[in-house]
């Protein structure tokens, strides 16, 4: 069973993630009254990037990108095999920090500023993830995903509704969607060129892109956990959240990092704490 899960995670997850990003580009184009690229566009981009010539500013870049994608895959495997949620968060953060170090390892000012902003994004979403794990612990008395799945609990969303909202915020920050696309953006260039990704090229950029696909599936998995009794419903909720993030991306403009931190730490943490308090009182 575990082997099947791991196979699913390593092979099928990036395919679904790539298709979802293709859908993202198509939907974004349709919302702007454009035709948009084919759904398979992310795969064309990826194969092309793997076939590009190798230009690296230093050797550390490749190490940082490799650790980043390895940690992302590992954290998805931890989720699929029902391991500890806290360990998962630490592994995820480790990978993200390695990517940031890779951004810092080059001397390009665009990459440097992009990396600093990436740290701020990390700071903004990490508390929201930790609060969700705490909420899961309060309801089930365990950090283990397997315990949550096998135990006879009601769907978490009923008692933890605020975390659906915070997970949408986390997804928007993690995918660099407006209004949180301050360190880099998937869309047209901005004042930081490509932010933290400026100096990664060719196969390195392809690995980062693949890591994003795994990351998207991981974040959708987190949301699906909120309806752990029936993962099909959970998946549909996660897909709805993904569509909400695309819509948010298209109807909002980029804001400053100060606003992002303030929003995540007051609104996001605020509703998380309120929800946890409600659980304490109603218990």
């Amino acid at each position: 069973m575990e082997i099947i899960n791991i196979f699913f995670v390593v092979v099928i997850a990036p395919v679904i993630g790539g298709l979802l990003f293709g859908l993202d580009r198509k939907l974004t184009a349709r919302l702007q009254k454009r035709m948009g690229p084919p759904i398979l566009q992310p795969f064309y981009d990826l194969i092309k990037l793997f076939g590009k010539g190798r230009i690296a500013a230093n050797q550390f870049q490749l190490i940082s990108v490799s650790v980043y994608i390895a940690c992302t895959i590992l954290s998805l495997i931890l989720l699929a095999t029902g391991q500890d949620l806290l360990v998962l968060l630490f592994v995820l953060a480790l990978g993200h920090i390695m990517l940031i170090l890779g951004g810092f390892s080059v001397r390009s000012p665009y990459s440097q500023i992009g990396s600093q902003r990436e740290i701020l994004q990390l700071m903004a979403y990490e508390p929201l993830l930790v609060f969700m794990v705490i909420g899961t612990y309060l309801k089930t008395g365990s950090f283990l995903v397997s315990n949550l799945m096998t135990g006879s609990y009601k769907p978490l969303l009923i008692s933890l509704p605020a975390f659906l909202l915070t997970q949408i915020i986390v997804m928007a920050i993690k995918l660099h969607k407006s209004p949180f696309d301050i360190s880099a953006s998937h869309h047209a260039h901005q004042e930081l060129v490509k932010g933290i990704y400026t100096e990664f090229s060719g196969a390195q950029l392809a690995l980062i892109e693949m890591a994003h696909w795994y990351e998207l599936i991981l974040l959708m998995g987190f949301i699906a956990l909120l309806w752990q009794t029936n993962l099909i419903i959970g998946g549909l909720i996660a897909f709805a959240c993904f569509l909400a993030v695309i819509l948010l991306d298209n109807i909002s403009a980029r804001l400053t990092w100060k606003w992002m931190i303030r929003f995540a730490w007051t609104f996001g943490v605020g509703i998380s704490v309120a929800n946890l308090t409600a659980i304490y009182i109603l218990r």
Binding site: R25, A29, Q32, K33, R34, M35, G36, P37, P38, Q41, F43, Y44, D45, L46, I47, K48, G51, K52, G53, R54, I55, A188, H189, V193, K194, Y197, T198, E199, F200, S201, G202, L205
Partner: protein, 140 residues
């Protein structure tokens, strides 16, 4: 055509460099991004970063200073790469051909694969030029 060549043809990321144009050609290039022409349906993205780019679009009269920058940008692009010169000025210097500071076309600085004539070049012509450049890239 194998899968790598197909992917290259379907995912051209474009770097646009203005070597000293009157901005006529640049406006036509940006017009390609609008819903009317929508180059993203061919997978083209305007990346603004030489390290991510496959196609270099050059507009304008190249002079000795901008030639240095153009050479630098070209060298930073990873292989395989193609260059498309857009507009009369990039092709030959255009009406500035005889000026003391103008180089006669960008092909003296970087190897140009496709020449798109016009003053200013029309968006359809620019898109077709990029398509021809991609075919040339895959034939190499």
């Amino acid at each position: 055509m194998n899968i790598l060549q197909k992917s290259r043809a379907k995912s051209p990321w474009i770097l646009h460099y203005d070597a000293g144009a009157c901005n006529g050609c640049d406006i036509e290039i940006l017009a390609c991004l609008t819903p009317v022409y929508d180059i993203e349906r061919f997978g083209m993205v305007n990346v603004g970063n030489p390290k991510h780019a496959d196609v270099l679009l050059v507009t304008g009269t190249c002079n000795k200073r901008s030639a240095r920058v153009l050479k630098n940008l070209y060298d930073q692009m990873p292989d395989p790469k193609v260059v498309v010169a857009v507009g009369a000025c990039a092709l030959s210097g255009g009406i500035f051909h005889e000026c003391y500071n103008v180089l006669q076309g960008v092909d003296g600085t970087v190897p140009v694969d496709v020449y798109v004539p016009g003053c200013a070049a029309r968006p359809e012509a620019i898109m077709e030029g990029v398509m021809m450049a991609l075919e040339k890239m895959n034939q190499r």
